[in-house]
Each structure stands twice: as structure tokens, then as C-alpha cells.
């Protein structure tokens, strides 16, 4: 079931784009407001807007930055997944499955061990290290998946699974030689969490993500052409290798930035673009922004469960996304096979 054969081909008119974008933006705004009102503590809204109360602190300094971070991280994962699925013409492509996240995590762990983790490196070197890891992993994957000048998506997908396993092994190796405290930090980071961060950090991650989004948005039309197949794309005048390199780099930037701040959060990049494509068709000019908004919403709701379900005991959000996403994906696969 390659992406290009999805039968819901509908023309993308400016009106349809605006309609979908407006609906999803509205839903995202509702999500932000609604989840901001949910938490282990109940807050008094009137006190919260007044500015000096505990309720104000909880709403604006604890919940809101976390929700915004969730939007950015979930959105980036959704877009990266959508782009990789188009690039590889395979709906199973996802940053976690094909090893891009593994590379990002390895880059992040190496950075953490080599330069330590301070508030400054968290904003600067940590995302760069993860980006470098994601980029190297992607480059390696493309190299491994290219035989006689042609990219074979299935070969690349399998190489990705292997890359992921090797990256995991290298992380375990680094973890076992790191000292106790560092090892603990690495494990917790890998579990994937959206612990409350400063607005500054949300802003910095937002900048990296905006860069990645700009690259992929610019390539959205080319992605459409690429998903027809290399030959077809070439005949339509696309420099296939160049376009693919740019799109892979854009995805790597997205994945690197979000893995650096929130660790390994799975399934968002797999399911969100998948569902979006079922509902909206496979035109990437619509699919990419839709995946951003839907991915952000999905992760924010998952994180709301993670921080609320057990009261004061916070769950890693990766646990929630995997527990909801796994069965959902299986259901989707079986439904499509029928």
C-alpha cells in the first residue's frame, strides 16, 4: 500500500486549504485552552487571571509552557513522519522506526556526556548534537538504501530498523560506562517527557522546528512529485537526489530538535500523518500543515493524561502515546487490509 495509490485524491483548492487550516487551528486553540484548565490541581480561573496568585503561576508558568512545548514537539514529529512517509513512499516510515530518532538520541547522549548538561548547553549544543546525530543517521540510511543509483524505500526501511537497533546498542554502551547520575539522567530523558520548561526553551525549540518546517513547506510540492516515483519525478523535471537530500535534512532538523528537549516520544509521527492522509488525501501542501496541528494536539492531549491521570505521580508521555498509538495503529492496518 504505497502512499501514491491512496485513492482519496482530491484537488487542493485555496478554499479547501483555508477551510481545513482554519478548522484545525481552531481545534488547536481549543486544545490549548481546554488542557490548560486540566491538571492534578483545580485552579480558580478568576484568581488565575489576576496575576499574583498560585493559580496564576500554575496556569501561566507551569501548564502553558508545557502545553506549547507539546504543540511544537508533537507538531514537529507529525510533520517529520508525513515527510518521511512521502519520501519513502511507505506509510510505515516514522522517525522512530527508521532510526532517525535513534541517531538523534545517540547524538544527544554523546553531547550530554561530552559537554555535560547545563541550562546553556540545553538551549544550544543539545539540539545541535541531536540534529547532527539525526542528520548522520539519515545520510547513512540514504546511502544504505541506494543501490545502483536508485533509492529503494524497502531497503532503506530495513536499514533503518537495523540503524535503530545499533543506535540503541551504542546508547546502552554509553549508558553503562557513564556514571550513576548521568546514566539515570539518560534513561529518564530517553523515556520521553515534556516536563515543564521555560518559555525561552520552548522558543528556541520553536526556532529549530520553524527552520525544519520552512524547508519541508518549501519542498511540499516536490514531495508530491517524489511520491509518484523517482522516474516520474525526474521526467517532471525534479532533481530527485537534491530534492530528497533537502527533505531528509529538514526532517532530521525537526527530529533532532524535539528529541533533544523531550527524548523519545513514539507513535505520534506514525499515526498522525497516517490518519491525516486518510481524511485529507495525500497532497503534502495540505498534509504537512495538517500533520503539524494534529500532531501537536495529539501530543498535548496525551501529555495531559500523563500529568493528570495519577495525580502527583507523573507518567512519561511516551508511555501514553505508545499505549494509545499501538493498538490504534493495528486497528488501522487491519481495517485497511479488509
Amino acid at each position: 500500500m504505497s502512499v501514491s495509490t491512496v485513492d482519496t485524491v482530491r484537488y487542493l483548492t485555496p478554499r479547501r486549504f483555508t477551510g481545513v487550516a482554519a478548522a484545525l487551528s481552531l481545534a488547536a486553540a481549543v486544545t490549548v485552552v481546554a488542557t490548560a484548565l486540566i491538571g492534578p490541581e483545580s485552579i480558580d480561573l478568576r484568581a488565575a487571571v489576576r496575576g499574583t496568585s498560585v493559580d496564576h503561576v500554575i496556569l501561566f508558568q507551569i501548564r502553558l509552557p508545557r502545553i506549547l512545548l507539546g504543540l511544537v514537539v508533537g507538531g514537529a514529529l507529525g510533520v517529520a513522519g508525513a515527510a518521511l512517509q512521502a519520501l519513502l513512499r511507505n506509510p510505515l516510515a516514522e522517525p522512530h522506526i527508521i532510526g532517525v530518532s535513534g541517531g538523534a538520541a545517540l547524538g544527544g547522549v554523546l553531547t550530554m556526556l561530552l559537554v555535560g548538561r547545563t541550562p546553556v548547553t540545553e538551549l544550544s549544543l543539545q539540539p545541535l548534537g541531536s540534529f547532527a546525530g539525526a542528520l548522520l543517521a539519515t545520510a547513512l540510511l540514504v546511502r544504505l538504501g541506494t543501490l545502483r543509483g536508485h533509492l529503494h524505500p524497502y531497503t532503506l526501511l530495513l536499514a533503518g530498523v537495523v540503524c535503530n537497533a545499533v543506535a540503541g546498542a551504542l546508547i546502552m554502551f554509553l549508558n553503562s560506562i557513564a556514571d550513576f547520575y548521568q546514566a539515570h539522567g539518560i534513561i529518564f530523558w530517553l523515556m520521553g517527557s515534556l516536563a515543564t520548561q521555560s518559555y525561552a526553551l520552548v522558543g528556541v525549540v520553536g526556532l529549530y522546528v520553524a527552520g525544519g518546517l520552512a524547508v519541508l513547506g518549501w519542498q511540499a510540492r516536490t514531495l508530491n512529485v517524489l511520491s509518484l516515483g523517482d522516474e516520474e519525478a525526474w521526467h517532471l523535471g525534479v532533481d530527485v537526489d537534491r530534492a530528497r537530500r533537502i527533505a531528509f535534512a529538514g526532517s532530521a532538523l525537526l527530529v533532532g530538535a524535539v528529541v533533544a528537549v523531550s527524548g523519545m516520544i513514539g507513535f505520534v509521527g506514525l499515526i498522525v500523518p497516517h490518519v491525516a492522509r486518510l481524511l485529507l488525501g495525500s497532497d503534502n501542501r495540505l498534509l504537512l500543515p495538517a500533520s503539524f496541528l494534529a500532531g501537536g494536539m495529539a501530543l498535548v492531549w496525551a501529555d495531559t493524561v500523563a500529568r493528570t491521570a495519577l495525580g502527583a505521580t507523573e507518567l512519561p508521555v511516551g508511555v501514553i502515546t505508545a499505549m494509545c498509538g499501538g493498538p490504534f495503529f493495528v486497528w488501522l492496518l487491519r481495517r485497511q487490509a479488509r
Partner: protein
């Protein structure tokens, strides 16, 4: 004249009694994010001012009734803020960095103490006592601890050191390495830590290494997490180990006692009794 002095004396004495009996200006609201901190606060007499503790804070028994604000690795910032604490006390951990930074950002007073060693315990008791305005109680507490520790050490006078291994987990086999609290307890308790040179604070040990080091005493605290027969069966196949041969493998489930804090003397005595039971048979 003497009557007058007596009257003044009585007044002064009365004032002193009043001052001593008066409660501190206003009770604080303290959140503790680690078991050792909670124990310290109770030992300082500030247990009644603790309004939030970590999930793992289980001692003293009163601590269990206090509202939980999350594990000490992943505390819930929001629940802590809602407690309106005057002071949050945490231990350093890479896993709780983000929440602790968030607490500082919202303007809460956060004290980070590192009671990971005997020296660290003394410092963190002093730091906590100072932060809650109970310096005198802090000094008195440490004096009591130091006196009790000296009492245990007196029993071990001139003892021959026994090669000792403290194990905290089986899969993987993890020992207490150099510099950690348990390492200090072994040394103070008349043992020498065979895992001290295995590398790192919590070294992963190979069985080969353990067999080569031939510990005379093994204190296995992994039974807190595993079944006791399993832990016993773990060591049984190695009768060449002096500890196994001489029946000096001790399965000890109350790992919580061995945390650095006000129960330092009890922790030391527990370890010392395992290493040199003969020194504790009779009361001196």
C-alpha cells in the same frame, strides 16, 4: 533587697520559660522531595511543617500520611506550587532538574542538599536546620548522631578488617563502590569494601571479579526487590567464596534504613553487626 532580687529573678525566669515555650514566629510550609530530607525534617522537630513529600518518603510513619507531590525523580511541579510552600528541599538528580528549575523560575525558595555521604549528611542537616530556623536543633541532632556513631565505633576498637561486599541488585550485579554512603558504612563498620576499586560509584560487577576478590562478608540488599529464596540461591553455587563457606551472606531487605540521614547510627550499627557480629553479642 533579697526579696526584690528574687522577684526579678522570678520574672526573668518566667520570661525565659515563655520564650522557650513560644512556638516559632509562624509555622513554615515545607515540601520535601527525598526520603532522607523528610527524615531530617522530622528529626529536627519540623515534621508538623511538612506539607508535601515524595512518594518514597516512608519514615517516620507520620510521613506516610502527608500529601504526596510525586516521586523524587519526577515531582509534579503543579502539585508542589499548589501547596504554597515557603521552602522546597530537593536532592540533586539529573532526572528532577527540569521540575526543580521550574520551581525556581516561579519564584519558590528551593534548597538543594546532597546527603550522599556521611560528610554530606552533616552538611545537609546543618543546611536544612538553617533554612528552617532551627540551627540549635540541627547542632543538637548532629551531636546526638556523632555520639551514637562514636559508640558503635568504640565497639569495633582494634578489630581486624573483613573483606566486605554490599550488593544492591543482581541483574545486573551492582555493588556499592567507592565514595558512596554504603562504602563509608563498610569502612566505618570494620570492613574493607572489595568493590571500592571496581570503578565508579555503583559498579556493575562480574561474578568473576567477586570470586577473585573473595569477600568474607556479603550484604545483599537486593531482597528489597527480589524474592528472598532467589537471592539466597544466587550465592549458593559459589562455596569457594569465604562469605558463602562461612555462612556470612546476609540478605537485608530494609534498604531504606541504609539511606543517609538522621538514622546514620542505626545504619552503621546494622552494617557493623553483619561484618563483626562478635562485637555486638554482649552489652559492654
Amino acid at each position: 533587697m533579697t526579696v526584690r532580687m528574687g522577684a526579678i529573678g522570678r520574672i526573668v525566669a518566667g520570661l525565659l520559660v515563655l520564650l522557650a515555650a513560644a512556638p516559632p514566629a509562624e509555622a513554615m510550609r515545607i515540601v520535601s522531595l527525598a526520603p532522607s530530607i523528610t527524615e531530617t525534617l522530622f528529626a529536627l522537630g519540623a515534621g508538623g511543617e511538612v506539607v508535601g513529600v515524595s512518594t518514597y518518603c516512608d519514615y517516620p510513619a507520620e510521613a506516610k500520611a502527608i500529601d504526596k507531590v510525586g516521586t523524587f525523580l519526577a515531582p509534579s511541579t503543579e502539585v508542589i506550587v499548589a501547596k504554597r510552600p515557603d521552602l522546597v528541599i530537593a536532592v540533586p538528580s539529573p532526572a528532577n532538574r527540569a521540575p526543580v528549575q521550574a520551581l525556581e523560575r516561579v519564584g519558590l525558595r528551593v534548597l538543594v542538599v546532597d546527603p550522599d555521604t556521611v560528610g554530606g549528611t552533616e552538611q545537609s542537616i546543618a543546611a536544612i536546620a538553617a533554612a528552617i530556623g532551627r540551627e540549635a536543633q540541627g547542632r543538637a541532632l548532629w551531636q546526638r548522631i556523632a555520639a551514637a556513631v562514636a559508640g558503635v565505633r568504640a565497639r569495633l576498637e582494634g578489630v581486624a578488617r573483613r573483606r566486605t561486599l554490599v550488593v544492591v541488585g543482581h541483574t545486573p550485579l551492582v555493588g556499592a563502590g567507592r565514595g558512596v554512603f554504603l562504602d563509608e558504612l563498610i569502612e566505618m563498620g570494620g570492613g574493607s569494601n572489595v568493590a571500592a576499586d571496581a570503578g565508579g560509584q555503583w559498579p556493575h560487577l562480574s561474578l568473576e571479579f567477586v570470586l577473585a576478590q573473595a569477600p568474607e562478608v556479603i550484604i545483599d540488599t537486593s531482597v528489597g526487590m527480589e524474592a528472598e529464596p532467589q537471592a539466597a540461591a544466587f550465592w549458593a553455587p559459589f562455596p569457594t567464596l569465604p562469605a558463602v563457606r562461612d555462612g556470612r551472606v546476609y540478605l537485608y531487605a530494609d534498604f531504606a534504613l541504609l539511606r543517609p540521614g538522621p538514622r546514620l547510627p542505626e545504619a552503621l550499627e546494622t552494617v557493623a553487626r553483619f561484618i563483626h557480629p562478635e562485637r555486638f553479642e554482649s552489652r559492654p
